[in-house]
């Protein structure tokens, strides 16, 4: 365990501390205690920037080495970029949340989930082992679910949380399948080692399955078409969460995965086309939809989806040039653009979300219709929105302009590239890119115009005024970054962008990227930008004339409709199926189980045949025969008696006889335990019997008894047959010899049973202890719940009445 492992797990540890602090100390806003965590991590990670340029760093920590699951931290340019984004934006978001969330909210939950997410996300991007990566990947889904449902009293929150969990968990599961498929090809769970075996993957027939499964995981997480529908509903989360998880970090996990695995799959046309087309369709479709949304957060959600599509398509383009051999130049432009836009998007979209949160906080609404004319009332918010929205629209001198130019340049170059099969439709790439950009321009302008210009509506629930400094400091820092990166992009290019792009391209050669704002009039991207601005402005000016086309987009044909209907119908169908066999009688369920047991047992006996061998038997002692007789008599008594006390005593008798059996069969540990357990059980039964009726009121009917008898007879016979066959046929060597031989050296003990329990098979014991503890807590709840309810009815609890 090294410092970097601790850095990744620090938020998780801090989460525990935060929970305790919140319980006992509420005078200071909890966020102040949380804030140092991401700051420390960000500073620590920043020290890696110079180290990474001289090669990646690998730190191993064994978790389950036998199955190849290790916590291998792998820091290269790509992982470091994401990790710094996660901790840096995390720090700003925590700072912002201090102003956004009041003391009245359940801050403990909020920050615990947020820290959990931070750990999980760092774990995803700094991991070399895909099994651990998957573990952290699911943890991000869970924390996202919990954060979306933070205001769990609202129905929309629950709906959104459920939707996001269903979709991302589905993707996560597919991802696991993809990783396992990769494992079957390469025989390793380490991404590094997989990279060394690219040719093996190329030749494997399993590779397309792995690609499809992994892309399903990436597309669901990064909200690509057609899985994007969860992201707009996830906006029910508190705004800091939207800014952090659902725009800057978590939704980029899919991008990260695609970028990380690009060197692995770039040979495959399937990989390239799905990413490239999927990304472009997402870009165009989501930006088209963003224009008509009224809720500011919905606009930003769709905008996030479209920008993610843009980054995704750039990664696809990077891979395309490998497949077609189109040359390194386009490859590096596309990859650099992807990395650069990733940073830019985190800065401007994070800031925009935070400003939206400010507007929501200070005016009480996020509806574009109800906002308007706030320019003089909220000048700081206006400045921030102006800078960041124009950066999103892709206008100079902000950073969004630079990356969008690179994007357009790369897309236009695609038409020049030489692919034999698709030469005729190559124009579709720049077309989709430009259409998407036009709509991006329109909704960016709409945000600025709709909120700050025009007439004041006086329709807001609260009287608008400027937010406190605590809330606008974080977006202001991001806005400063937007301008800084826009004017001096090359502070990033050599230190962060190049190492990240190099790890995506799996090359050691330095790229020497130089991003500049002016490329001369010959550059087609410049003309494309000019066209976008002109067409966008015209469309925005005449927006009343063409908005009617959205009316054709009927409710019935949306993906949301498909999702809702699918969920509803599957619910109905499963209810129907369940009702058909769930009678509500415990006897039916037990009968199902036992009948299945009998049928399956009989079938397998029939198939394998019965080979018995009674040659190897221990001698029978007289004392054991006496014990057997006692057991048989006790069973008979239990079966026929109506008295409870008698049956309990007989049960105890069997228990003590079992203990004696253990003595005779040389199992002193078992004998001791059985004796102790039997004593406690008997005490428990007797204590319980003070509360139960003396005898059952209902004599059973004979007909039922006969079916029961048949079932139990069947079970008994099958058990005996299985026991005899298993005893007669030894198919494998006994594994116990290992335990016997190694008990001294490995376990340093003498009692084998105990050493097996606490050492060799410690996991069993651990979980058994947990089960025991859970049973105790369950019983506690059962008993105490009843007492509480009695109190309430007796005294009419005032708490209850208020609620």
């Amino acid at each position: 365990m090294t410092l970097i492992h601790m850095a990744i797990l620090l938020p998780l540890v801090a989460a525990v501390a935060i929970g305790i602090i919140y319980k006992y100390y509420k005078r200071i806003h909890l966020g102040w205690f949380v804030l140092p965590v991401p700051v420390i991590i960000a500073i620590y990670l920043a020290t890696f920037i110079p180290k990474v340029s001289s090669g990646p760093i690998l730190e191993t920590m064994q978790v389950m080495p036998r199955i190849g699951m290790n916590f291998d931290v792998y820091i290269d340019g790509l992982g470091l970029l994401f990790a710094i984004l996660i901790s840096g934006i995390g720090a700003l978001v925590v700072l912002y949340s201090i102003g956004y969330l009041s003391h009245r909210e359940d801050l403990g939950n909020f920050y615990v989930y947020l820290l959990m997410f931070m750990s999980a996300m760092l774990g995803v991007v700094l991991n070399d082992n895909v099994l651990m990566l998957y573990l952290f990947w699911e943890l991000t889904s869970i924390s996202s679910f919990l954060l979306i449902a933070f205001w769990f009293m609202k129905e929309r929150s629950l709906y959104g949380a459920q939707k996001s969990m269903l979709i991302t968990m589905f993707g996560g599961f597919m991802l696991l399948g993809g990783f396992l498929a990769l494992h079957t090809i390469t025989g390793t769970y380490s991404i590094r080692e997989m990279l060394a075996q690219v040719t093996l993957i190329q030749e494997s027939p399993v590779a397309p399955i792995a690609i499809v499964l992994i892309l399903l995981g990436a597309f669901t997480k990064s909200a690509q078409f057609p899985f994007y529908i969860w992201l707009p509903d996830a906006m029910e989360a508190p705004t800091p969460v939207s800014a952090y998880l659902h725009s800057a970090t978590m939704v980029k996990a899919g991008i990260y995965l695609v970028a990380r695995l690009t060197p692995l799959f770039a040979f495959s046309e399937l990989w390239v086309w799905v990413i490239l087309l999927g990304g472009l369709i997402t870009l165009a479709w989501a930006s088209f939809n963003a224009v008509r949304k009224d809720d500011l957060k919905a606009v930003l959600a769709f905008s996030t989806v479209s920008q993610l599509g843009m980054i995704m398509s750039l990664l696809g383009l990077g891979a395309l040039s490998v497949v077609t051999g189109a040359g390194e130049a386009y490859f590096s432009i596309a990859v650099v653009a992807a990395v650069f836009h990733l940073i830019n998007h985190a800065t401007f979209k994070g800031a925009l979300f935070m400003v939206t949160g400010i507007l929501d906080h200070e005016t009480g609404t996020r509806s574009l219709k109800r906002l308007g004319g706030l320019l003089t009332l909220m000048p700081i918010s206006f400045t921030l929105t102006f800078i960041t929205a124009l950066s999103m629209a892709g206008l100079p001198p902000f950073n969004g302009f630079l990356s969008k130019e690179l994007f357009l340049e790369a897309m236009i170059h695609v038409t020049e590239a030489d692919f034999a099969s698709l030469a005729n439709i190559a124009f579709i790439f720049p077309l989709l890119a430009i259409v998407g950009s036009i709509f991006t321009f329109i909704y960016s302008i709409q945000i600025i115009y709709g909120v700050f210009f025009g007439k004041r509506t006086h329709d807001t629930p609260k009287e608008p005024h400027e937010a406190p400094a605590l809330m606008w400091i974080s977006p202001a820092i991001l806005a400063v970054l937007v301008i800084t990166f826009g004017l001096f992009p090359n502070v990033l290019s050599s230190s962060i962008i190049d190492p990240a792009a190099m790890s995506i391209m799996a090359t050691d050669a330095p790229l020497g990227t130089h991003i500049s704002m002016w490329h001369g009039f010959a550059n087609p991207a410049l003309w494309a930008t000019i066209a976008i601005v002109i067409i966008g402005s015209l469309l925005f000016y005449f927006r009343d004339k063409w908005m009617f086309i959205y009316d054709y987009h009927k409710e019935r044909f949306t993906l949301n409709y498909v999702y809702d209907q699918g969920l509803m119908h599957s619910r109905f169908a499963s209810r129907k199926v369940t009702d058909s066999y769930m009678t509500g009688f415990i006897r039916s369920y037990l009968a199902y189980i036992f009948m299945f047991f009998v049928v399956l047992g009989a079938i397998s006996l029939w198939n394998t045949g019965i080979k018995l061998n009674f040659s190897d038997m221990a001698p029978v002692g007289i004392q054991e025969m006496i014990l057997v007789m006692i057991v048989l008599i006790s069973i008979t008594v239990i079966l026929v008696t109506k008295s409870r006390i008698v049956s309990i005593i007989m049960l105890s008798a069997i228990g003590f006889v079992m203990a004696l059996f253990f003595v005779f069969f040389r199992a002193p540990d078992l004998a001791l335990t059985q004796l102790a357990i039997e004593t406690v059980t008997t005490a428990l039964f007797l204590v319980c019997f003070y509360h139960l009726p003396a005898r059952s009121k209902h004599p059973e009917r004979m007909r039922f008894k006969f079916t029961n008898f048949l079932v139990s007879l069947g079970v008994g016979i099958i058990v005996i047959m299985i026991g005899l066959i298993a005893y007669s046929n030894q198919l494998f060597d006994r594994i116990s010899q290992f335990h016997i031989d190694n008990v001294k050296e490995l376990g340093a003990g003498g009692n084998m049973v105990n050493v097996i329990l606490v050492d060799f098979r410690g996991f069993d014991t651990l979980f058994e202890t947990l089960v025991f503890g859970i049973a105790g807590i369950g019983i506690y709840a059962l008993m105490k719940l009843r007492l509480n309810r009695k109190d309430e009815t007796d005294e009419a609890d005032p708490e209850e009445n208020r609620a």
């Binding site: 920590m61 428990l684 003990g749 651990l766 202890t769 105790g776 807590i777």
Partner: protein, 155 residues
């Protein structure tokens, strides 16, 4: 127990439960049983015994006291919240295997060594004992909690 018996109509419960002989014997036996349970627990690694048996016997010893006296007296004698014991037991059981991460070894790697202590001589130290302690605490406290809860339930 006493309350329970009263509820169910045993009028002589009071007199029975104040039995001096029973209480004295219970105390004596309690001491023996609890010593035995500790012995089983500590010796468990080398001879029959261990956390489960030890825990159960410790619980049984306390149940004996519970039967001889009542819940209130028991709480006065052993002023510990059993739930706290369950939690700390589980913490030991889960925390100790996790600690091995700190030493860079896989989950559940135990460490052991020998040291010389003046009176006891050569004493083996084994981290498995701490894990077993977790088992001991959880089992003892849970078993006891169950009996106490059921005993004090009033219908």
């Amino acid at each position: 127990m006493k309350q329970t018996l009263k509820k169910t109509g045993h009028d002589k419960a009071d007199r029975q439960m104040n039995d001096v002989f029973l209480q004295f014997t219970a105390k004596l036996v309690f001491l023996i049983v609890i010593m035995f349970s500790f012995n089983l627990f500590f010796a468990g690694h080398y001879t029959p015994g261990g956390g489960f048996v030890g825990g159960l016997l410790a619980a049984a010893a306390l149940i004996l006291l519970l039967i001889a006296y009542d819940k209130k007296t028991l709480q006065r004698m052993v002023p510990i919240d059993f739930r706290l014991i369950i939690t700390s037991g589980l913490t030991f059981a889960v925390g100790l295997p996790t600690l091995s991460f700190l030493f860079g070894t896989p989950f559940f790697t135990h460490q052991h060594t020998h040291i010389e202590i003046p009176v006891f001589g050569d004493v083996a130290l084994h981290s498995a004992v701490l894990f077993d302690l977790g088992v001991f605490l959880t089992v003892a406290a849970t078993a006891l909690l169950i009996i106490v809860l059921v005993g004090e339930a009033e219908n």
